[in-house]
Symmetry: C2
Subunit: 406 residues, 2 copies
C-alpha cells in the first residue's frame, strides 16, 4: 500500500499525524486545515483499498464496497474524524480506521458482499469548534438541516457557513440517504468500566439521555462579622444544601443514574462577604427517559424547597437535552454470540457519553461497540487503548459484518 | 468657624468631600492625596477648636485639650480617617468628627479637664491600600513596629515605606505613648443589629476573635457521563459535604458564633467534567477564644473525615487570626447608666467587625460605642446613619467624657 498504513497500530499513528500538537494531543476541528488533510488522506487510503469514495455536501467522507445486487441496502460503519482541542488519537479515529481495514479485509477474503458495506468518516461530532455537536450524523439522518447552523460562529467570529464554504463544502441541498439499513460504530469506551470489570468488548444497550441545567440562586451580600447567622440570605449556603441533597438523592436510584455539578460561580467571591449570587450547573444522565425525568423533577422541587427555607430566589433553566437512544438488541445478540464463539470476554453496559450512533438509532437498527480506555481517560493526550484491545474490536467488527452482509 | 463645619451633618459632608468618587463613595487610602488633604483639613479644624495639634511620625493626627495638672494621664477618643475603595462616609469619619465636636463642646462649656482629653484621627485601619490593617493603632499601642511593613507593597508596586515618606512621614523612630489611660471609639455598627432591635446605642462587650482558613480539596477529574458515581473522586462533592456540615454544626453553638464560606474556586469548572480541585475559605468569629478554637477544631476534624470517606486529599491552612478583645466593663456600665439617665435606648452586643479599639483593649481600658447602620450596609456608598442617631451618639460621648474627665 506504499504511503498508507498496513496495520492498526500504524494507522492510528498515521491519522494522528494530522493536527498533532506539541503536547502530543490532536486538534482536528471541523473544516480546519488538519481536518481537510485528514479527510483527503483517508480518501486516498479508501481508494487504495478499492472502495468507491465520495463526499456528501457537508464533508462527510464515504468509502463503499458495493454489492452486485442493485437493490441492496447499505450497512454503514464508521465514526467521526474531528477531535476536541488537544484530544486523544483514538476517539473517533479508531472507528474510521477499523471500518476501512474491515472492508479491505472482507473484500480481499470474500469479495463483493450481498449488502453494500460502506465506511463513513463523519465530518463532525464533538462540537468543539462551533457550539453544535453531531453535525455529520445529524445531517445524514435528516434530524438536522442547514437551518441549525444559521448564526452559529466559532470563537474567532467565523460563521459556520463561511468555514464550510472555505473547506469546499456547503451546497445548499442535502440529500438524505434512503439506503442505510443498519449503522455500526466501533469506539473507545472513554470511561473506566471495561478496564475495571476486565472485559475486552463493551456491548452497548443504550446511550444515556442527558439533561443539563443552570441553577441561579440569589440572596443578599453582607458583612460576615456583623451579620448574625439568623439574618443572613446566604446564596452559597442555599446552593450547598441543594447540591448536598442532589448527591444524597442519587443513592435512591439505580447505578445507571449519574449526576454532577461541574461548574459553579460565586459572587462577590471574597472571603469576608456573604455570597449574594451563585450559579451552578447540574448534568444528569440515565438510559431511561422516565427515570431521568423523575429524578430531574425531584431535585428541582428539592432545590425550590431549600431556596424557600433560606429566603433565596432561585431560577432553574434546562439548557441542553438529549433523549436516551436504545441500541438494537438483535445486533447486540449477534455480537454476544460472536464473542462467545471467539472466547472474547464482553460486558453489557450503557454509554454515558454521546456518539453519532445515538442519532442513527432514531432512524435504523444501530449499535456501538466499545474497547477499553486505559484509566478511563479520554479527550486528553493521555488517551490510550492497547493494540491488542484495538485488534480484538476490529476482529469482532469483521465477523459481525461478515455475518450480516455475506 | 468660617471654613469649618458647625454641626454633625455638615461635618460628615465636609469630610466626605475629600476622596469623593463619581459613584458617591469615598476613597481615602493611606498616604494618598485625598488622605493628606483630609488630615490637613482636620488639623485646621482642631486648631480652630482650640486643640493643641500634632502628628506622630507615621501620620496619626492628634488634637489635645490639656489638663492644668501636669501629671495627668490622657483619655484618647477617635477613629480612622482612611476608607476602603469607594466606601461610606461614616465609617471611621464619624468617630473623629464626634471626638472633635465633643472636645469643642466640653472646652466651651466646662473649660480645662482634670484629665487630658485627646482626639485622634488614625492614619489607617482598613488595610485597603496595603495588605496590613490597623497600622495607626498598631503603632500607637506598640503592638506593631516598622518591621511589620518591610517588603509590603500596594497593588501598583509602591512600597509602604516609599508611600509614607512621600506623604512626609516615616522617621525611623516611633515613641510609644505612656500617658494613655483610656481609649474610647464611637463608630457606626456596620451591621443590622441595632436597627433590628430598634435601639439607639450599642454597648460593645467584646470585639470577636477571627480565624480564617483556606481549605484545599483534591480529587480526580473524569468524564461526567462515563464515570459511575461509585468510582468518582469528586472534589466538589467533598467540599459540599464539608460546607453543609459546617453550617449545620453552627446550630450547636450560641448565637455569637458566625461562620461563612465567602470564596470558592473550582477546577476545571466546566459543566461536563468532574471537579478535581476545590479551594474555599472559612471565616469563623466568636467573642470567646475557647469557643472559637473548639469550633475550628471540630470542623477541621469533620472536613478530614469527609475527605477520607470520599478518598480525597485535603489541606487546611489558617492564614489569618485575630484574638477576641474584651471591652472594659467599667466603662460600659457608665455608658449604660448615662443612657438610662438620658432615656436613650441601648443594647449590649458584640462587634463582629474589627476596630482600632481591639488593639487598645490589650494595653488600657477601652470601649467602643455603636450607632445604627441603616440596613446594616457598610463599605459601600449606600452606608447611612440618620443625623438623629449620629447626634445621640455624640451626646452620650460628651456625657461620658464629662463624667470621666471633669
Amino acid at each position: 500500500m506504499g504511503q498508507f498504513p498496513t496495520n492498526l497500530a500504524v494507522a492510528i499513528d498515521w491519522l494522528a499525524s494530522f493536527g498533532k500538537e506539541p503536547d502530543g494531543g490532536i486538534t482536528r476541528t471541523l473544516y480546519s486545515q488538519p481536518w481537510k488533510e485528514a479527510q483527503s488522506a483517508l480518501k486516498g487510503w479508501m481508494e487504495e483499498a478499492g472502495l468507491l469514495t465520495n463526499y456528501d455536501s457537508i464533508g462527510n467522507l464515504f468509502g463503499r464496497l458495493t454489492s452486485p445486487n442493485h437493490n441492496a441496502k447499505t450497512i454503514l460503519i464508521g465514526s467521526h474524524v474531528d477531535t476536541v482541542k488537544s484530544g486523544g488519537r483514538y476517539d473517533g479515529a479508531y472507528g474510521i480506521i477499523a471500518g476501512i481495514m474491515a472492508l479491505d479485509f472482507l473484500k480481499k477474503k470474500y469479495g463483493q458482499p450481498a449488502i453494500n458495506l460502506e465506511v463513513v468518516s463523519f465530518c463532525e461530532e464533538e462540537g468543539s469548534r462551533f457550539p453544535l455537536a453531531l453535525w455529520g450524523s445529524g445531517m445524514m439522518t435528516g434530524i438536522y438541516s442547514f437551518n441549525d447552523i444559521v448564526d452559529i460562529k466559532d470563537s474567532e467570529g467565523i460563521s459556520f457557513e463561511t468555514a464550510m464554504m472555505a473547506a469546499g463544502f456547503g451546497s445548499p441541498e442535502y440529500r438524505v440517504r434512503k439506503d442505510i439499513q443498519t449503522f455500526i460504530e466501533l469506539h473507545i469506551e472513554q470511561g473506566p468500566t471495561l478496564e475495571k470489570v476486565e472485559k475486552s468488548i463493551g456491548i452497548v444497550k443504550a446511550i444515556v439521555g442527558q439533561k443539563r441545567f443552570r441553577i441561579t440562586v440569589k440572596g443578599e451580600s453582607n458583612h460576615v462579622g456583623t451579620t448574625s447567622m439568623k439574618w443572613r440570605r446566604d446564596a452559597l449556603h442555599g446552593a450547598v444544601n441543594m447540591i448536598h441533597d442532589l448527591y444524597e438523592s442519587v443513592k435512591e436510584y439505580d447505578e445507571d443514574l449519574v449526576t454532577s455539578v461541574g461548574q459553579l460561580f460565586l459572587e462577590p467571591n471574597v472571603p469576608n462577604v456573604i455570597p449574594n449570587h451563585v450559579q451552578f450547573t447540574v448534568d444528569a444522565r440515565h438510559p431511561n427517559e422516565y427515570v431521568l425525568r423523575s429524578f430531574c423533577q425531584k431535585f428541582t422541587q428539592m432545590f425550590q424547597d431549600h431556596a424557600k427555607k433560606l429566603d433565596l430566589a432561585i431560577q432553574v433553566e434546562m439548557w441542553h437535552e438529549v433523549l436516551p437512544a436504545q441500541m438494537d438488541n438483535g445486533l447486540n445478540e449477534i455480537i454476544q454470540s460472536i464473542c462467545t464463539r471467539s472466547t472474547i470476554s464482553c460486558h453489557w453496559m450503557n454509554s454515558g457519553a454521546g456518539h453519532d450512533a445515538q442519532l442513527f438509532a432514531r432512524v435504523c437498527p444501530t449499535t456501538i461497540l466499545f474497547v477499553p480506555s486505559q484509566g478511563g481517560i479520554s479527550h486528553s493526550p493521555l488517551e490510550y487503548t492497547s493494540t491488542k484491545d484495538l485488534e480484538t474490536g476490529l476482529e469482532i467488527l469483521i465477523q459481525l459484518l461478515h455475518q450480516l452482509a455475506y
